[in-house]
């Protein structure tokens, strides 16, 4: 299989997996604490995987495909705005941290989780005209970081097992 074919196949596979994980996540019950935005963020495993196994453009493509597919199948327009904001901020932070070379996928994913929540709560404050919604930020940062770290560990474990095909 040529290198190009392999990359295209992997990109399609990660996009599909991303979508599958989003669907699984949809069926998980929300933590009954009343704070919106606390979730596992499982689909981000695939974005991190694309970032490490393929590259930044491919990772951005998987991320955008995830957001648009979710919107078309399960979402609302407001939901799309939240996802875009969270996805963009999270992606930018993960890309920068990966480029810095100072962190492993665990740190990159953890910061990405936290950044996702920052982007979402900022949009929520704007859309609802309620700046005090930012008081949720500390709780969101802690849960987002923890969820991101767990996702990073899952990817690190996967990366070890698929290392013969590892890139970058």
């Amino acid at each position: 299989m040529s290198e190009k074919t392999r990359r295209i196949a992997l990109l399609g596979l990660l996009t599909a997996l991303c979508f599958g994980l989003s669907y699984i996540e949809l069926m998980l019950p929300a933590l009954p604490v009343g704070v919106p935005g606390i979730k596992a963020g499982l689909a981000n495993i695939c974005v991190v995987a694309a970032l490490y196994l393929l590259g930044p453009w491919e990772a951005a493509a998987v991320n955008l495909a995830r957001i648009v597919l979710n919107w078309l199948l399960f979402g609302s327009f407001t939901g799309l705005l939240y996802s875009l904001a969270g996805g963009a901020v999270s992606f930018a932070v993960m890309l920068l941290l990966k480029k810095s070379g100072a962190f492993s996928p665990v740190g990159v994913s953890a910061a990405g989780g936290a950044a996702h929540n920052v982007g979402q709560i900022a949009v929520a404050a704007l859309l609802t005209g309620t700046p005090s919604i930012m008081l949720y930020l500390p709780a969101l940062l802690i849960f987002g970081t923890a969820a991101g770290a767990v996702n990073g560990l899952i990817f690190a474990a996967l990366q070890k097992r698929i290392s013969p095909q590892r890139k970058g």
Partner: protein, 117 residues
């Protein structure tokens, strides 16, 4: 790998410390509230006094209750029911949000006559 892992850990601890600092700072500045501001998709929908029991239906989307100086969302048409699970709030700046319906319930410092928009 272990050097990276130490940096990862430092990063995670730094984010959590920042979160705790934010939380501590916001807790310090909290005051008892006097009124409840209900917003629907960013627009002011109603302002209710916190010291008077009331039940407000927000366009059939959410039912907001003021009871014994506290306010909470009693019922909502949204899917995940996060707003219904939120504990009652009473201090200025605290918010219960129902993002799917675009409804927020915020306790405000300033009292005000109750009015509906």
């Amino acid at each position: 790998m272990s050097k990276l892992f130490k940096r990862d850990l430092a990063l995670i601890v730094a984010i959590i410390l920042a979160a705790l600092a934010l939380w501590g700072a916001s807790a310090l500045f909290k005051k008892e509230g006097e009124s409840v501001e209900v917003r629907l998709r960013g627009e002011l929908y109603a302002v209710l006094p916190l010291n008077k029991n009331a039940e407000l239906d927000v366009e059939g989307l959410c039912t907001v209750v003021v009871e014994d100086g506290e306010t909470y969302v009693k019922s909502s048409t949204c899917r995940n029911k996060l707003c219904e699970n939120h504990r009652p709030i009473s201090r200025a700046g605290e918010t219960v949000a129902c993002l799917p319906n675009g409804v927020t319930v915020t306790v405000k410092k300033e009292g005000g006559a109750d009015f509906y928009v």
